[in-house]
């Protein structure tokens, strides 16, 4: 390592025996020795790809031929006029706008229900947490079967109560909503854990004080509990949004972006461009655009969110 050289230079050759001992005693050497393995790995597989990706976004690459001609801004110029990408953006926005608030609402309601001492509460809680252990692929396969148009139990339930049945994942109008449903279910456990932990951090005395002040339970929840949960809400909003913008697994498994591009979201399109159409340069440009969008949205969420967040410190 470059930083070890000053020590090495100072050591006289005659005292080489002591060099190793002195090196091992130097905090610089020990520090670098400890940090290097992880740093090299993250450098090669994290940092280098970030820069390479930027380079790639100005090139034409098919991932196979070693020649990657320089195309300047062509990849970025292509983005605004790409009709499929525009669809992907629309679908991603619709998906995010539905998925994030729904997951938070479901998570909050269940967490509130679970935040009490009744017999068997640990069993109820485990049941709510367990979707955390379910992989996206397991989740997608189960929901494909639940929403199967001909034999699925959802259509059976609708049929039983006399409601019209859907074509679900086969329908361009409904497929995205089915994906919203499966991912909300899959993230419920996570949201419940976050909200339940936050609820348990709300001091009981505050709610009791409000009750003595004459507030009704619903009012207490709205005016005391909910504001005190706002740090958890902000975290969930940011975290779920980042994940929503990166939706891929469920789409790949259940619809491959179809039918008629109805579920083509940004990351699916990016994957398709890179590894199925072999337009890696264009995909890299898309990835950088996505990155910037995530940065901007996260920044806005924190700025706006901080106005409503009460840190109880």
């Amino acid at each position: 390592m470059a930083t070890a050289t000053p020590t090495a230079e100072r050591a006289a050759p005659a005292r080489r025996a002591g060099l190793l001992r002195r090196l091992s005693r130097s905090e610089h050497a020990v520090g670098w020795a400890f940090a290097t393995p992880a740093t090299v790995l993250i450098g090669v597989f994290g940092l280098l790809p970030i820069l390479w990706s930027l380079l790639l976004s100005f090139q034409k690459s098919d991932l196979l031929t070693p020649e990657t001609p320089w195309v300047g801004l062509a990849n970025y110029r292509q983005i605004p006029g790409d009709p499929t990408f525009r669809l992907a953006i629309e679908h991603t926005i619709v998906y995010t706008v539905l998925f994030v608030p729904l997951t938070m609402a479901v998570g909050l309601l269940i967490a509130v229900a679970l935040n009490r001492k009744v017999r068997g509460i640990t069993i109820y809680r485990t049941a709510a947490y367990v979707t955390m252990a379910v992989s996206t692929i397991n989740e997608a396969i189960i929901f494909m079967w639940l929403f199967e148009p001909s034999f699925g139990i959802v259509n059976a339930a609708l049929h039983a109560v006399g409601l019209p049945q859907g074509q679900w994942l086969s329908s361009p109008d409904q497929a995205l909503y089915v994906i919203v449903a499966m991912t909300v279910w899959g993230w419920t456990g996570f949201a419940v854990v976050i909200y339940l932990a936050a609820l348990q951090g709300v001091p009981q005395e505050l709610q009791e004080a409000a009750a003595i002040d004459g507030a009704k339970p619903v009012t207490i929840f709205r005016t005391i509990t909910l504001p005190l949960l706002s740090p958890a809400s902000l975290f969930l909003a940011v975290w779920l949004t980042i994940n929503a913008l990166q939706l891929f697994d469920e789409v790949y498994l259940s619809t491959r972006g179809g039918p008629l591009h109805a579920t083509t979201v940004v990351v699916y399109y990016l994957f398709d461009q890179a590894f199925q159409q072999f337009n890696a340069g264009y995909a890299a440009a898309l990835a950088y655009v996505l990155f910037m969008v995530i940065l901007v949205i996260t920044y806005i969420q924190f700025r706006v969110g901080n106005r409503f967040v009460h840190y109880n410190r």
Binding site: T39, F45, S53, L63, I137, I153, W185, I242
Partner: protein, 277 residues
């Protein structure tokens, strides 16, 4: 006897709705193929078809997938614990040249989504496979392991925890003649079990359920992990819902067992990231 709380009337329906997908998966996995093709659906199989599981296991190398998933997850978890401990300790306690800048750069990579890095990562893995060691290349387990052996998140998590340990303990050990490495392994790490458990739980979950990266770098069935293997199984049996559900149950089982065994750690870990985030 105390009267049961009325809250059970709320909690039981909620729990039921959350668990319906699991119940329906189990029921379907025990039906005959004909029973899966009825409308309205058969709510309980006439006789449970346990051999569906045998058929599913024979139709795809699930055991292989599971071993691959386990090997990848375990090696990745152990590597992260060791490497992130070392680096986290260096950043927490050692004043070495450039530590501030290096730490800042590593943390910056945390903000970048995987989609940005995956294409060059694919190219890097392809290159190491051809030029360094084939086991690290495309279509080998090494490609799933090596890039994930250390994470900036893990370094950050452990560094923050190490900073909370009283520095006098480390000084006392050093006066007692312990090396820096000894201080880390004999004093700091035994006191950091909660943080290490958190890192282990989150890393395991992440590795076990990872899909996009294996999809990109693994092609051969014998090197697939569970999610990817299940996807190919689904592709070839997309109308045999009973077999698909049997395969699904089978692939869910290990993670569920790990989850129930270590639920405390998973829950605490997720809650901790949320409260600190």
């Amino acid at each position: 006897m105390r009267r049961p709380s009325p809250w059970h009337l709320v909690l039981i329906p909620i729990t039921f709705i959350l668990l319906v997908p699991f119940f329906w998966m189990l029921i379907t996995s025990l039906e005959t193929e004909a029973e899966t093709r009825r409308f309205p659906p058969v709510l309980w199989p006439a006789s449970p078809q346990w051999h569906n599981y045998v058929t599913a296991l024979n139709a795809a190398p699930f055991a292989r997938f599971m071993v691959n998933s386990a090997v990848v997850a375990i090696v990745v978890v152990v590597a992260n614990l060791v490497l992130c401990s070392l680096a986290g300790y260096a950043f927490a306690r050692l004043r070495f040249l450039g530590n501030g800048a290096l730490f800042a750069v590593l943390m910056a990579t945390l903000m970048v989504p995987f989609q940005v890095t995956m294409i060059p990562e694919f190219l890097i893995v392809k290159w190491t496979g051809t030029n360094i060691w084939s086991q690290l290349g495309i279509d080998h387990l090494g490609a799933l392991i090596v890039p994930n052996m250390a994470t900036a998140f893990g370094i950050f998590l452990l560094r923050q925890f190490f900073l909370t340990i009283p520095v006098e303990l480390e000084e006392a050990a050093r006066i007692d003649g312990t090396s820096r490495l000894g201080v880390l392994f004999k004093i700091v790490l035994p006191l950091s079990m909660p943080a290490l458990a958190t890192l282990a739980a989150l890393t395991f979950l992440d590795s076990w359920n990872s899909f996009l990266w294996p999809l990109i770098v693994i092609n051969t069935e014998s090197h697939m992990t569970l999610p990817l293997g299940l996807t190919t199984f689904q592709g070839s049996h997309d109308t045999n819902w009973n077999l698909l559900m049997a395969g699904n149950v089978f692939s869910l089982l290990p993670m569920l067992l790990v989850f129930f065994a270590a639920q405390r750690y998973f829950v605490r870990s997720v809650a901790a990231t949320g409260l600190k985030g």
